[in-house]
Symmetry: D2
Subunit: 267 residues, 4 copies
């Protein structure tokens, strides 16, 4: 039996892989974004009884996975998540896996999926994970920090629009309307009208809803001074880097000015 193996070794092409490989070098000196979305999460949320319109525990699980990813892969400098979606930004000159799209994409998606399952019981302790969650992903490159910020702003605007719609929709459903009726009711309404609906019909001040629902979650590193125990001013201060999850406006320039280190192109 072994003979057959050995006899065949010589016949085998030494490189039957690379020439057939899907080519995938991401352009140097551009911002790589890996965008990850839950697959069929409509069904996943239903079967796992996620709260509607937003399940804060499930969102915190997503954020915790993103933070773990940033602890593991230092080239990811910023992440933005909303609902079952997360965007991971790699630094512009990252050489992570020599910028091969398939490698970067697969390790991000694989690690995120593993952590999601491992941390499930920490965030949703009383709910059994009934089947394996699955995320799909894609790689995008942005040639300038302006376009990158536009992309992130677009995701946050989307978060707002979807959240406003979903809040109205589920309030209508909880108040007795069918899903179809709720849908028809909202068709064509403007942002202002939706806010009025929430205020007048349900006594909800949209702007008072938890900020995580309205602005999504930004995950990034901050540096903090390490207490050094010495009373006199001559101490050598060291900086600690910590990954934080915040819910802030990333559309306005303000955020980026306050955190110049994130997209610092001079580094």
């Amino acid at each position: 039996e072994l003979g057959a193996f050995v006899g065949n070794i010589d016949k085998i092409e030494p490189d039957y892989f690379r020439p057939f490989l899907f080519e995938n070098g991401l352009m140097p000196s551009t911002w790589i974004v890996i965008r990850l979305d839950g697959c069929h999460f409509h069904r996943f949320c239903k079967i796992h009884e996620f709260e509607k319109p937003n399940d804060e525990k499930a969102l915190n699980l997503m954020n915790s996975c993103a933070a773990a990813l940033m602890e593991e892969f230092h080239d990811i400098i910023f992440s933005y998540g909303v609902s079952d979606e997360f965007s991971f930004v790699l630094k512009k000159d990252s050489q992570f896996y020599q910028r091969q799209a398939s490698k970067i994409l697969s390790v991000v998606v694989s690690f995120f999926s593993s952590v999601y399952v491992m941390k499930w019981k920490d965030f949703l302790p009383h709910r059994e994970l009934k089947y394996p969650p699955c995320f799909d992903g894609r790689a995008v490159c942005y040639p300038s920090s302006e376009i990158l910020r536009d992309y992130l702003a677009w995701r946050q605007v989307d978060c707002h629009i979807n959240n406003q719609y979903n809040t109205c929709f589920w309030m209508l459903v909880k108040s007795g309307k069918s899903k179809r009726e709720a849908q028809d009711y909202l068709k064509g309404t403007q942002a202002r009208e939706k806010n009025e609906l929430l205020a007048q019909q349900f006594g909800i001040d949209y702007n008072a809803l938890p900020i995580i629902f309205r602005q999504g979650s930004s995950v990034f590193r901050v540096q903090e001074e390490k207490a050094n125990g010495y009373g006199n001013g001559a101490s050598v201060e060291k900086l600690n880097t910590r990954v934080v999850v915040e819910h802030c406006n990333i559309i306005e320039k303000h955020f980026w000015k306050e955190h110049p280190g994130i997209l610092d192109e001079s580094l």
Copy 2:
């Protein structure tokens, strides 16, 4: 606060995604192979105390994940696994995710990772999963079934060569040699010499080692007649499709002739 959002909506490009997307259509009418490898599994095996040279329980976990993948994604028609590596073959005319490389790659890798964590305790009940496992992946296309079979044969030859080497290496280490000494000892030895070393020094008949170590694992569907309970021959027989894990020679044509349905190009 909302005002800022709404004011910005109009400024946002409606399609800030597609033009920057890493392009990824896989050629129609070709065999797509998604190849998945454990990331830094050298360390992962060590920390989780996998048996050397092969940990049968860990291999069975891998195989079980592959089988689960094939239950989930029907376009995968054959899988071959060895060590921490698995190759998944999609049917030639698959339209799974419109043949977009990034989507197919990411869902395969994500689902596999989730299942691996979920099933861990079933296969390795007394060992704690200490950190999230991670797999990277790549997509390859083969234009003909001949080249596809050559690829799979190459993987199985590799399985054999690596297993033979690893078996020798770990026997030498277990017998008291340092890893460096074992490596030097084996440098340049031929297949026959390695087999003689195992036989003479350690009393091991290489060909009697478990076939899962020597031939890797093939995962595929078989159809079986459903028992129908009627005594008379006029019963309507239905076919059940079942995913099986086997350890067989896929280098020789014999296997493919016995399972003509797997690569059947006439379908």
Copy 3:
């Protein structure tokens, strides 16, 4: 002045090219087709007073360029041309420019353009070439000879459909209709109706029109026995390879069976 140069040499990245290069490996073991089309040839034909619906001299110039290309680049095994379009088929295992799309595409298009200008006066001696002709091109890969033949058949069907339409259109225009009227007249007519129009209104038997107009032009190599001058049968016969231009049905299998060497995959 030189000093500035020399001082800068060291600062320059040695490889400021490859990482930014548009990636372009064409899949091994597939049929590469380079398809070339005249740019803005509507205007080019008008300014150079090409006969309508077909200018046989201009078609012969195109064919002559294709033949010259096949004399120059031996990896091109078949070409099919119609109107201002030509498709060049490279052999399946061609290693021409290591199968880099941009190199193959550019040399084919460049050589064709050069020859077109050089040969212009031979085919259209009494018409001045008033401005540089320009052709665009694209690369396509086909994984099997069946799909390749389907592509070529599609081009020949297109040739027929366009020629039939154009013949009707220009006969109507020459008979006094405006272009708009001719267009409206033909809208929605079937093949049979167009043939009847030609026969009844203009006394033209479509099938009697020059075959180059109806079937386009196929350019390929034929082998012919070299006359060897010796009367006795013991002579050593040598084969000469010659590029020929023919106007034949390449939709039916007949052509490919009569010329088995063209797509011979066993070579």
Copy 4:
């Protein structure tokens, strides 16, 4: 005969092209460079008896083709040429052919080749064009104007290094050395040594050689005020745009500051 055609029309896939097309979208908001090189120009120069080390007439022909290209394709904003090589820079937000690499590449190469043949007799009137010249091309994208300028600087440094070497080499050959001897003689020499060789052995001041040889050729547009003939200040002044060929230092920032319109990213 027609029957066979018509009968087949329905069987033909309506879109047997796009799915198999070599994918080729160039990233938006990046500088596209089409780089063109003469194919086998060593032989082409020899057969057409180009002067060595530089044939000024042949260089002027190249420059004239580049200028014609810029007159034709307005998205090309800068070109740099040396020897048988030319780089064409498209503006960052060009939508030329929807940024499809193969279309842009092929029309640039095709047009250049056509013009080269058409203008040959104007620049080299006493030399017959003996066979069709051929150029290959590639597409590169640069995400920032800094990297684009680095690329162009690299080409100009290369021009200088090659010219200095070639000037020495051909002076040695003309003085009686064989090509091999000249090569050996120059191996490992520094820039300064080559200049000394030229000065001392051949009485040549390198920096006094024609600037077109030392700095290559830059082709770009300049705007000039149109004389309007009216003496009083109330005249409407119009700007004329003109393509110019200059031989200037594009390594230093000076050039780009003097011509801010070329790479103006604010437009």
